[in-house]
C-alpha cells in the first residue's frame, strides 16, 4: 500500500475502497471511501460532519477491525464522548480497548505568540504517535482548518497541510478531513486543493421552516459514484443516507393475493384481492370512506394473524377506534393482541426526513406485513411537493423491498380532477381505488371503482359504496336509460322496475288463463259434436241392421222360393258390408 503511493503509480485497476459501515453511504460510493487516501467532508455548521466522521471510525473499529484516531480541533474529548453517546456509541469503551484514540488539539490564538519560523511537526508527532499506539487504519481530522484561525502564518499552514496529506497517504490510513463550507467555495481555506481524491458535501437546508439534510459526492477520483443529492438522517442509530436509486426496482414480487377485507371488492380485483407487497392508493374526496376502507383492510390483515401498522396523520388512535366501531369494525382487540399498531402524528411536527426515519425505524422494529398511511397528502405540509413525492417513492420502495403491502389514502379536493393526487404518486402505486361522490336527486352518494390494478383483470364497474352498521357494502349501481343512479334514486328506480315487472307478470298470467279457457271451450265443443255424431252413428247402424235383416229375410224368402222351385245352390247370399269405423270419421269432423 505504502509503496504504491510512494511510487505514484497510476490508479490500480480497481481502486481499493474502505467500507464506512454507514447505511447507504457505501452504496452511493460503490463500496466506501478510497482506502489509504484522505477524503474531504465539507458542509456548513451543524450539518453532521463530525457525526459522519465519528461513525466512520466507530464502524471501522467495531465492524471492520480497523482502529481509528479522531483528532478534534473544535471539541474536547469529553464533549465528543458525550455528543455521540446519543447515537449509541460508547467511545470510552472503545478508547479503553485501544480501538479508538481521541486527541483534542487546542488552537487558541490569544495564547500563542509567534516569534520566528516554525512548522507543524508537533501535529505530525502527535498524530503519528496516536496512529502507532493503536495501529490505526482510519484517521479523522475535524476540523483542521481551525489552524488557520490559531496561527497567523497561512503560508506555513498551507505547506504543512500539503505535507500532512501526503504523509497520511504514505502511512496508508484512510482519512476523513472535515472542512467548513466557505463563501462560494467548498471550504473556507480551500482544503479541496489538497484533498482531491474524494469530496463529499453535506448540506442542511431549511425550506419553509422544516429542515432537510442532504449529501452529495462532489468528486471521487478513479471511481464511479452516485451523483445525486441524497437525503440523510441522523437519529439514535447514527447516520443513514437514503439513496433513492439504490433501492431501485429490483424487489421480489409475490403472486400471493390477500383480501382487501371486503369480499365484493376482492371480486372486483380479479376475484382475489390485492397482491401481497403491492401498493394500493385509495383516493377520494372528503368523507367518502377512505379511512373506513383502510380499516377493513387492517381488520383483514389482523384476522390472518399478521401485523399491521396504521400511520395516521389526522386522527388519534382513540378517534379511529371509535369511528370504526360505529360502522361495525372493532379494531381494539387487535391492538390489544399486538397485531395492530397505530402511529398518530401531525405531518407538520417533523420534516419529511424525520418522518421517513421514524417509519423506517418503526417498520424495522414492528415488522408489519401491511402498512396503512392515512392520508399521504398531508405530508406535503411537512415539505415541498417534490420532496414529499421523493420521500413517498422511497418509502414505497422500502416497503416493496420488504414485501409489505401498503395502503395509502389520499384526499382529493372537489375542485381538482378526481383522477389526480396532490402528491402525484399515482404512477408508483399498483392498485388505485377511486372513491367519489355522485350528486343526484338532492343526495350525495359514494361510489367506488378500480381505476387501475396492475397484473390482474379488474372490474370496470362502478359500485355504490354504502357505510352500514356492519361495515362497507358494495352495491350495483343502476345504469340505464336515465344514466347512473345511486342512493334513493337507485332505490326508487328499482321500485319502479319491480312494479313494472309485477304488472308484466300479471299480464302474462291473464294471457295464460285466456288460453286455458279457449282450450276448454274448444274441447267442450269437440265433446258435443262427438256425442251428436255417436247418436247419428247409432241411428245409421240401426238402419243398416234393419236393412240387413230385411235382406236376410228376403234371402230366406228367395231360398224358400228356390227350394220350392228346386233351384241349385249357385246363388249365395249377398255380402253385408262391415260396420264402418265411426271414431276415425268423427275425428275428421
Amino acid at each position: 500500500m505504502g509503496t504504491k503511493v510512494r511510487n505514484r503509480k497510476p490508479v490500480e485497476r480497481s481502486l481499493r475502497k474502505s467500507l464506512t459501515g454507514i447505511q447507504g453511504l457505501d452504496e452511493i460510493t460503490r463500496g466506501g471511501l478510497p482506502a489509504g487516501r484522505p477524503t474531504l467532508v465539507c458542509g456548513s455548521a451543524g450539518c453532521g460532519k463530525t457525526l459522519l466522521s465519528m461513525e466512520f471510525l466507530v464502524r471501522g473499529a467495531t465492524e471492520y477491525n480497523e482502529p481509528g484516531v479522531f483528532m478534534a480541533f473544535e471539541e474536547t474529548a469529553e464533549e465528543l464522548v458525550q455528543n455521540v453517546r446519543s447515537l449509541g456509541f460508547d467511545l470510552d469503551d472503545l478508547v479503553a480497548n485501544k480501538r479508538l484514540a481521541l486527541d483534542f488539539v487546542q488552537v487558541e490564538r490569544s495564547e500563542i505568540e509567534e516569534a520566528g519560523e516554525y512548522d507543524l511537526e508537533g501535529l505530525f508527532v502527535r498524530l503519528g504517535y496516536a496512529i502507532d499506539t493503536i495501529g490505526a487504519k482510519r484517521v479523522v481530522l475535524d476540523t483542521i482548518e481551525t489552524l488557520f484561525g490559531g496561527l497567523s502564518n497561512a503560508g506555513v499552514i498551507r505547506a504543512e497541510l500539503r505535507r500532512l496529506f501526503r504523509w497520511l497517504k504514505d502511512k496508508g490510513v484512510t482519512a476523513i478531513v472535515t472542512g467548513e463550507r466557505g463563501d462560494g467555495t467548498l471550504t473556507r481555506n480551500g482544503l479541496e486543493e489538497y484533498v482531491s481524491d474524494c469530496v463529499i458535501l453535506l448540506d442542511h437546508r431549511i425550506t419553509e421552516q422544516v429542515s432537510t439534510r442532504r449529501m452529495r459526492i462532489v468528486k471521487y477520483r478513479g471511481s464511479s459514484h452516485g451523483t445525486n443529492e441524497y437525503p440523510f438522517l441522523i437519529d439514535e442509530k447514527g447516520f443513514s443516507v437514503l439513496p433513492i436509486t439504490s433501492l431501485g426496482l429490483e424487489h421480489q414480487v409475490s403472486d400471493e393475493r390477500i383480501s382487501s377485507g371486503i369480499p365484493r371488492l376482492d371480486t372486483m380485483l380479479g376475484g382475489k384481492g390485492y397482491y401481497r407487497g403491492s401498493t394500493v392508493l385509495i383516493s377520494g374526496t372528503a368523507g367518502c370512506g377512505k379511512s373506513s376502507l383502510s380499516a377493513h383492510f387492517a381488520q383483514a390483515v389482523c384476522q390472518r394473524g399478521e401485523r399491521c401498522l396504521y400511520i395516521a396523520f389526522e386522527e388519534s388512535p382513540g378517534q379511529i377506534l371509535r369511528n370504526m366501531r360505529s360502522i361495525g369494525i372493532d379494531l381494539e382487540p387487535w391492538v390489544k393482541k399486538g397485531l395492530l399498531r397505530f402511529q398518530s402524528t401531525r405531518a407538520t411536527t417533523d420534516g419529511l426526513e424525520v418522518h421517513l426515519a421514524k417509519f423506517h425505524k418503526l417498520i424495522q422494529e414492528f415488522e408489519p406485513r401491511a402498512v396503512i398511511i392515512d392520508p399521504v397528502g398531508t405530508l406535503v405540509q411537512a415539505g415541498a411537493l417534490r420532496d414529499a413525492r421523493t420521500m413517498l417513492t422511497r418509502l414505497v420502495d422500502f416497503l416493496k423491498a420488504r414485501q409489505i403491502t401498503a395502503v395509502l389514502t389520499n384526499l382529493t379536493s372537489g375542485r381538482d380532477s378526481a383522477e389526480s393526487t396532490d402528491v402525484e404518486i399515482s404512477s408508483i402505486v399498483d392498485t388505485w381505488l377511486l372513491l367519489r361522490d355522485i350528486e343526484l336527486g338532492g343526495e350525495r352518494n359514494r361510489a367506488l371503482y378500480v381505476l387501475k390494478s396492475r397484473g390482474m383483470a379488474h372490474s370496470n364497474q362502478i359500485r355504490e359504496f354504502l357505510l352500514t352498521e356492519h361495515g362497507i357494502e358494495l352495491m350495483e349501481v343502476y345504469v340505464g336509460a336515465e344514466g347512473v343512479l345511486t342512493g334513493s334514486s337507485r332505490l326508487s328506480q328499482e321500485a319502479r322496475e319491480r312494479a313494472a315487472a309485477l304488472s308484466r307478470e300479471q299480464q302474462m298470467e291473464a294471457r295464460q288463463r285466456e288460453r286455458e279457457r279457449k282450450r276448454e271451450a274448444l274441447e267442450a265443443r269437440i265433446a258435443a259434436m262427438r256425442k251428436e255424431f255417436e247418436a247419428e252413428d247409432a241411428e245409421a247402424a240401426r238402419l243398416v241392421d234393419q236393412d240387413r235383416s230385411r235382406e236376410q229375410e228376403l234371402g230366406l224368402d228367395r231360398e224358400a222360393m228356390g227350394r220350392s222351385r228346386q233351384s241349385d245352390e249357385a246363388g249365395t247370399a249377398e255380402r253385408v258390408p262391415e260396420k264402418s269405423n265411426g271414431r276415425a270419421d268423427s275425428a275428421r269432423v
Binding site: I112, E113, A115, G116, G122, L151
Partner: protein, 113 residues
C-alpha cells in the same frame, strides 16, 4: 541545557508554583523534534534571551518529541519549536525559532523585568 523527561518536572513545578513569588525561578520548556535548523536556532536564542534577562533565575527543559512523542499532547503542541512558560503563571506559549527576540520577550512577558 538539560534534557529532561516529564517525570519529576510536573511534581517540582507544582511545588514551585506555590512559592514562585518568593523564589522567582522561571520554568521554561522548549519542544523540538529532532535536531532541525529551527530547533537548534531556538535553543540558542532561548539561552541567549534568558542569560540577558533572567540570569540565574531560569530553568530550561528541552523536550525532543521524536524521543518522547507522548509528551506532545499534554502541552497541546502543534508547532515546532514551541516554548512553554510554565512558571511564573499564567502559562504562556510561544511558537517559532525565537529569531524575533522582541516578540519572544513580549510573549514571555519579560520586558518589564
Amino acid at each position: 541545557m538539560k534534557l529532561a523527561g516529564k517525570t519529576g518536572i510536573a511534581k517540582a513545578a507544582r511545588k514551585q508554583r506555590v512559592r514562585r513569588q518568593d523564589v522567582g525561578i522561571w520554568e521554561l520548556r522548549l519542544y523540538i523534534a529532532g535536531q532541525t535548523p529551527n530547533s537548534i536556532t531556538a535553543v540558542t536564542n532561548l539561552k541567549r534571551i534568558c542569560e540577558e534577562r533572567l540570569p540565574g533565575r531560569y530553568r530550561i527543559d528541552v523536550i525532543d518529541l521524536l524521543l518522547n512523542p507522548q509528551l506532545a499532547k499534554g502541552d497541546q503542541i502543534i508547532a515546532i519549536p514551541t516554548l512553554v512558560r510554565r512558571l511564573p503563571a499564567p502559562m504562556k506559549r510561544i511558537v517559532g525559532n525565537l529569531s524575533k527576540s522582541e516578540r519572544a520577550v513580549v510573549g514571555l512577558d519579560l520586558q518589564a523585568r
